[in-house]
């Protein structure tokens, strides 16, 4: 069994020290040591995407990322995106679209969708389906998740227009 060590991590903008097994994954540290449990353990194999978090702003699988590989880097979980405008827009459209069923995939789905919306000005349905294809959902058939992302993009662009008009 692996020995334990102290990891100095920067998570959701805060410095955290965690004493955990040397081979602990980021997902284990987040869930078991830091009680940040939005990220879920669906397969522990990097397939389902329920554990998706951001590492230096890039979506990664928490279950495939060693905690030790995250020192000196910025880890962001869904909890840390609570004030992020894109995430908030996605949360609102997911609530009304029907894209949330059992909810087990939802955290990871939101983190991935947020990255897509941040990177792509006006994603097509094909873009959205491709971007989310590493996040499995067994409940919805994806129709309403895709719709939620589309609606969030519209809402955000409307908000941007409103802001620009207000400034002018």
């Amino acid at each position: 069994m692996a020995g334990k060590e102290v990891f100095a991590l920067r998570i959701n903008g805060r410095e955290r020290e965690v004493f955990a097994r040397s081979d602990a994954t980021l997902l284990e540290v987040l869930r078991d040591d830091l009680a940040l449990r939005a990220a879920k353990r669906g397969c522990n194999q990097g397939v389902c995407g329920a554990c998706t978090v951001l590492l230096d702003g890039v979506p990664v699988r928490g279950c495939l990322t060693l905690a030790g590989a995250c020192t000196g880097r910025e880890v962001t979980t869904l909890e840390g995106l609570a004030e992020d405008p894109i995430t908030r827009a996605l949360q609102e459209t997911m609530i009304v679209s029907g894209g949330v069923q059992c909810g087990f995939c939802t955290s990871g789905m939101l983190v991935t969708a947020r990255d897509l919306v941040a990177q792509t000005v006006t994603p097509t349905e094909g873009d959205i389906r491709k971007a989310l294809s590493g996040n499995l959902c067994r409940c919805t058939g994806y129709v309403r998740i895709v719709e939620a992302v589309t609606d969030a993009v519209v809402a955000l662009s409307q908000a941007n227009t409103d802001t620009r008009e207000a400034i002018q």
Partner: protein, 775 residues
């Protein structure tokens, strides 16, 4: 029949209210079983059997007990000789005396950390005497087959199962005279079909957390579809009085059938009792594949005959089901599959027979559709074949034969509402069926459309509701129904709010708790909206009756001159004089009459079998349910080189009686379609001898967003007379016709007939190359 609740709908019912718990889910704050922790909690690991069939001779746990962090070990010697099971009580909490499938839990460890538990579990030594294994139903029925359950005859059974040897159960249903009817048929089609096992793959693996208090009473949280079935199973297997075990639920990460009957709860409770500490056991994804349950593989022989006009005259269906090592819900699946084997058609002569055989494999059990998708795959293709032989349009032959309101279903149950015709109309129009086929999107592909129709019950067994009016006139609803993500908490709150003309926000929904909730058989059989909804409407009606009596005294007006108004007010008819619920409830709490509480319970009690028209042997559900209907058209594209089949678009219409929450119904249709598409095209659990070789999401693929088409969901409403506001079930029917519709579309695209599910590229390519049947 009168409606269960006759107040016209408007306030809450029919609105796509977002699910009540959605905000907690989108912020990551929803707590599932693995998110729960208790002080001093231990973690569990399980030792699985290395053999598919063996006698357990002895255990040596000394080394495991001495390992770092280990607090307790249990083996079959630590659990009583109690057996659990919904239909046949054949299963111990943990293997005892024998192991019956490879991977079956034989021992479990509780340790301070999960790593310690997993490390120590391999230190348990079990001495086995290996026995010959039964790996298929045919092997199980052979005269000299090794017997799995030597005491099968002595097990408690809840119906006439006809169990013998490795035959777990048999069912036979007959109406009319099938053998004499073939002579009157102008067209007869006959064939054999096979379907492979499908895994549920709820995104959340199964898990449980148990603790024992100072009095020895157990509290058990688990991922489940019924806190009451959990309680019954744990108490039966561990021989605990039901009053000594409280079963609760956190949020559940979906079920589809695999969390209805027990998974890891009995073992977790046994560990907590052994150690005196809280114990959490969460299955790995691999264990979730290997030791819970899966959709039955079916072998089907079906024969259907029609006259020259395409009117169906006879159908004969024979099925053979692999039960796996334990009965679980299998006898129900067999009986239900046979009941549904004729489809939603008038067929005067029908016979359906089947056998369910124990094998040394993982148990097969409940899975969304419950045997219906398998028999529909055969039956709906035969309807198309007959249409083809007679030169009829596939939609036309279905219209000619479909059941109507007032007809009896096969063996007897009466159909009170039937929106099938409107479902067919809807998908025909939406899909452009009459305009013919779209041209192939790309060269090198072939394209075709196919249709299949379906019916499914909602109903079964007992349920209840308690509606309490709080001091301020708001409402606390408690039903005991587990919301597994589909939104039943929201739907039941809408029914309650509608009945009391309150905004939904004024209704709270209690989490199921066997200590405080009325009995609910479970979130299964597409039943919660229909049966629990009826109980909610009945309990709300009782609350209203009591409130009216108070108001009558307070307003000095006879009850018949009072009316319920929007916002929860009781008013004098034709007057502005009224009272809010708050004033009424305040009086009830503090002055007169006592707090207002309404409750209502029911058991679905309309008989399945009408002995005047049919013969039924070994029927597992004497009282089954009401019928929902659906029609599905798919447009598929086949790659001529690889045989890969892609669904381009799908149109699915479902008659749900009344959509209490239309968006949630749509998502049931869409999600059911995609789960059915995975089953139809590529999902299959594969055994190499006794070993499941693909128990991981790496090797067992489920549909992703990139693989799935846009699914057009269409709601049809033909109100069920005794449904709550006319509602009936929506949970399973969207899945049932998917393999059949895809097979019919494939046939239109490339010719031939698909006879096996999944319709893998290899099988489709063979079907295409041979211009005939798939291998």
């Amino acid at each position: 029949m009168s409606t269960a609740f006759d107040i016209p709908a408007g306030t809450a019912v029919g609105k796509s209210t977002p699910k009540l718990e959605n905000r907690e889910k989108v912020t990551g704050r929803a707590e599932y079983i693995d998110d729960l922790y208790r002080p001093g909690m231990l973690h569990a690991a399980i030792l699985g059997s290395p053999y598919p069939h063996a006698r357990i001779l002895s255990y040596d746990v000394s080394e495991a007990l001495a390992a770092p962090g280990v607090v307790g070990v249990i083996t079959g010697d630590d659990v009583p000789d109690g057996r659990m099971g919904a239909f046949i009580k054949d299963e111990h909490a943990l293997a005892k005396g024998k192991v019956l499938y490879l991977g079956e839990p034989v021992a479990a460890i509780a340790a301070e950390t999960l790593e310690q538990a997993r490390a120590a579990v391999n230190l348990i030594i079990v001495d086995y005497e290996e026995l010959p294994a039964v790996l298929s139903p045919e092997e199980g029925l052979a005269p000299d087959a090794p017997i799995l359950h030597e005491k099968l005859k002595d097990y408690i059974k809840v119906f006439d199962a006809g169990s013998e040897g490795n035959l777990c159960s048999r069912t036979e249903l007959t109406e009319g005279n099938v053998d004499a009817a073939w002579d009157r048929c102008a067209v007869i089609v006959e064939d054999e079909f096979e379907t492979e096992p499908q895994a549920h793959v709820s995104l959340e693996p199964c898990g449980a957390l148990a603790e024992v208090d100072a009095q020895g009473r157990v509290t058990l949280w688990s991922a489940n579809q019924s806190v009451f079935r959990v309680q019954a199973n744990v108490c039966e297997s561990l021989q605990i009085p039901m009053s000594k075990l409280r079963s609760l639920t956190p949020r559940v990460g979906a079920g589809f059938g695999n969390k209805m009957e027990p998974h890891i709860q009995p073992i977790t409770v046994a560990l907590a009792m052994k150690t005196g500490r809280p114990v959490k056991c969460i299955l790995t994804r691999e264990e979730d594949f290997e030791i819970v349950r899966a959709r039955h593989p079916f072998k089907i022989r079906m024969k259907t005959g029609a006259d020259a006009q395409g009117r169906l005259i006879a159908r004969d269906c024979e099925v053979l089901l692999d039960c796996g090592a334990f009965a679980d819900d299998s006898p129900g699946v067999l009986g239900y599959a046979l009941l549904m084997s004729g489809g939603p058609y008038r067929i005067p002569n029908q016979r359906a027979r089947g056998k369910l055989v124990y094998t040394n494999k993982l148990r097969f059990g409940a899975y969304r559709g419950f045997g219906n998708p398998q028999v529909s795959f055969a039956g709906e293709q035969q309807i198309d074949e007959i249409a083809q032989k007679l030169g009829l349009d596939p939609i036309e032959i279905r219209r000619r034969n479909m059941l109507h309101e007032g007809d009896g279903w096969f063996v007897g149950p009466k159909i009170a509402s039937n929106g099938l015709a409107r479902c067919i109309d809807a998908v025909e129009a939406a899909s452009g069926w009459r305009k013919g086929l779209q041209p192939p999107a790309t060269p090198g592909t072939r394209r075709g459309k196919g249709i299949a129709v379906s019916a499914h019950i909602s109903g079964l067994l007992g349920t209840g509701a308690i509606v309490r009016m709080l001091e301020d006139g708001t409402i606390a609803l408690n039903t005991g129904a587990t919301d597994i993500g589909q939104g039943s908490d929201t739907v039941l709150a809408q029914i309650c709010a509608e009945a009391l003309k309150l905004p939904v926000e004024m209704v709270s929904v209690a989490s199921p708790d066997t200590d405080g909730s009325p009995y609910n058989w479970g979130t299964t059989a597409s039943r919660v909206t229909y049966t629990t909804g009826r109980a909610v409407a009945g309990a709300a009606r009782e609350v209203l009756r009591q409130a009216m009596e108070h108001a009558s005294e307070m307003l000095d007006t006879p009850v018949e001159d009072l009316e319920l108004r929007e916002g929860g007010r009781i008013a004098v008819k034709g007057s502005n004089e009224d009272l809010p619920f708050a004033a009424i409830s305040g009086r009830a709490h503090w002055a007169k009459g006592g707090p207002i509480v309404g409750h209502h319970t029911l058991v679905f009690d309309e008989p399945t079998h009408d002995p005047k028209r049919s013969i039924a042997l070994g029927l597992p559900f004497p009282q089954i349910g009401v019928f929902s209907f659906g029609a599905l058209i798919v447009d598929v594209e086949v790659d001529e080189v690889t045989g890969q089949t892609r669904v381009v678009e799908a149109w699915s219409a479902v008659d749900v009686g009344r959509a209490i929450n239309p968006r949630l119904v749509e998502v049931q249709i869409e999600g059911g379609f995609v789960q059915g598409m995975g089953f139809a095209l590529y999902e299959a659990m594969v055994w190499d001898g006794p070993r499941l070789v693909n128990p991981s999401l790496m090797d067992y693929k489920i549909p992703t967003s990139a693989d799935t088409p846009h699914v057009h969901s269409i709601i049809v409403e033909d109100p069920e007379p005794n449904g709550p506001f006319g509602a009936k079930g929506a949970g399973e029917i969207g899945l049932n016709p998917v393999p059949a519709a895809i097979a019919n579309a494939l046939s239109a695209a490339i010719g031939g007939r698909a006879r096996k599910v999944p319709m893998t590229p290899e099988r489709v390519l063979n079907q295409l190359l041979e211009g005939g049947d798939a291998a």
